[in-house]
Symmetry: C2
Subunit: 334 residues, 2 copies
């Protein structure tokens, strides 16, 4: 309770964030990460400012050098005078390995730059929740005047890919000789990449990997007006980074010229609405499991094998959608 | 349309599956994987037979030898005269690597054994859906008389962990020197393991890894009546497999003696109910997005930034829960 303590209210955040106040922005992202009525209120308030940034998804296996690439891209983007935000989605499992903490620290070279905002997003326990928090965190950055938002994910799960796909432009990062290229080609994952980067280009086989990607892209020609470029980079030395950035911008221009942008936005909005409704269902049920005797009875019947799960779900649906008109708390948070 | 074509109906499957008919079982699992009214009908019909098997979750990083371990466990379990089913959850991303196809082929040594049923579960695009299909596939195996069901997941994501936790007994597989042990200890992942296996025990450092796990388990003593054992195995040569199986059985006995089994079952049933309701919300909304002019209008307003996502979700909730009384098609499928 020193004088240095700043009191934030939802009201003050919604006023100061659009003026570029970084502490309000940090607080706002925490609020939307937590979800709930306060988050809904903030998003509703700041929604008119949203939809302005170029959203870039960057994904790839652990160890391909994504964070170093992001770091180099930040420098490139800043040299164009643009404000850039980074949302780094933490991998959801301890098994993914990789020097995550070290990577984040590496990016901290930009912390003195007031036009760079880097944030790790905590995992919310299930994929849908993390994706929703990411959508809203992007809106907070947009409302605060960020021109470019990079969403960095470790591409080890369907959920991380889904998050990457909230982007306008998706950059798929691979490295030579990892076998990733073959896996990617086989599984049709190529389709989500708008720009391909073979990083660690100083390692043997970089050009071979790039050539394999190019020929596979030619085979799977979708007739799209955009032909995904393949870059060989060395993010440590900045080699090829400028070219990657130019490709990312060209992709955005191409989207804007064609009908693709509208189609992409529509499918993104649909996906978000679907996850939001699923999340509401989850939250309402969790509450009912604590407070509603009817719902508790259904659970007991399931446990006794008197009621199968699908019939049980049908029974509780009605009960849980009666408590839908909660208001934001608008409480003072320090 | 040859004479060899067998016609399945939901009715015939529900009659033949409990008699142990393998083709009906295979078909039933496909149906529950697809979801929808047919799946609901089957689960409802066969639910009285469910809840009988010992469910064993086996999870760990790619490359630790999970499939070889499962293969060795199948042999051990069969030597006890028990029927065993295996559900291998395919990793949800091509980035996870590993010789997945090769692993599956390795297990095919048991295909001639009529009391072993091995099945890869396709990923349903999001974690919740895959978990739900797994619950129902387990029920199909139980209804068909399987005493033990092994659920094998690649522990690379929160979702895979959630699937592993549908089990009664969770086996966490690690290998020496991978650094996994340290990651697991740090992240609190240890808590989900009921039995620990350090596989590839012929590699240097196996005993050191085991000792680290043991001392970390002692530190985090939860006062639970079950003290997770740590085994060093070499699944290739069957070393230590019998001991792992004995630990798995002892864990089940301990659960049954204590209140833990009931608590575990309750939290599993709750988790399933929550995911089912979320899935119903998703499916109903997807349908409404195609057919309901009101919902389509809401989507348009979101696209034009006239309506924020949270308000939109509230608006569509009512609309989508009016179409809840669909019946199973009971169609003839060949």
């Amino acid at each position: 309770m020193t004088n240095a303590t700043v009191k934030f209210t939802l009201e003050s955040i919604s006023e100061d964030l659009p003026k570029g106040d970084r502490r309000s922005l940090a607080r706002a992202i925490s609020i939307v990460e937590d979800g709930g009525p306060d988050a809904n209120w903030l998003v509703q308030k700041l929604f008119p400012y949203a939809g302005r940034a170029h959203l870039i998804g960057i994904t790839g296996s652990p160890g391909v050098g994504k964070s170093t690439l992001v770091d180099a891209l930040i420098t490139e983007i800043r040299s164009q005078g643009l404000k850039v935000g980074v949302l780094a989605i933490d991998p959801s499992s301890p098994f993914t390995g990789g020097a995550i903490l070290g990577d984040r620290i590496r990016m901290q070279g930009h912390t003195m730059d007031k036009n760079v905002f880097i944030r790790s997003m905590a995992n919310r326990g299930h994929a849908g929740g993390t994706a929703l928090a990411t959508y809203d965190a992007v809106r907070m950055l947009e409302a605060s005047g960020y021109d470019v938002v990079i969403i960095e994910t470790v591409g080890v799960g369907q959920s991380e890919l889904a998050i990457a796909q909230t982007a306008d432009t998706t950059v798929l990062v691979l490295m030579p000789g990892s076998g990733d290229d073959v896996q990617a080609i086989k599984s049709g994952i190529m389709e989500i990449g708008d720009v391909f980067v073979v990083n660690k280009g100083d390692l043997p086989g970089a050009n071979k990997t790039a050539a394999e990607i190019i020929s596979s892209l030619e085979l799977s020609n979708t007739g799209s007006p955009w032909k995904p470029p393949v870059h060989v980079t060395n993010a440590e030395t900045n080699d090829g980074i400028e070219e990657v950035w130019q490709s990312i911008r060209k992709h955005k221009e191409k989207l804007e010229e064609s009908d693709l942008l509208q189609a992409r936005r529509k499918s993104k909005v649909q996906a978000e609405l679907i996850e939001l409704v699923a999340e509401m269902a989850r939250n309402n049920l969790k509450e009912s499991l604590e407070h509603s005797p009817q719902v508790q009875k259904v659970l007991e019947q399931m446990l006794k094998h008197q009621l199968d799960p699908h019939s049980a779900a049908n029974k509780v649906i009605e009960d849980i959608f009666q408590t839908n008109d909660r208001q934001p708390s608008n409480k003072v948070s320090t």
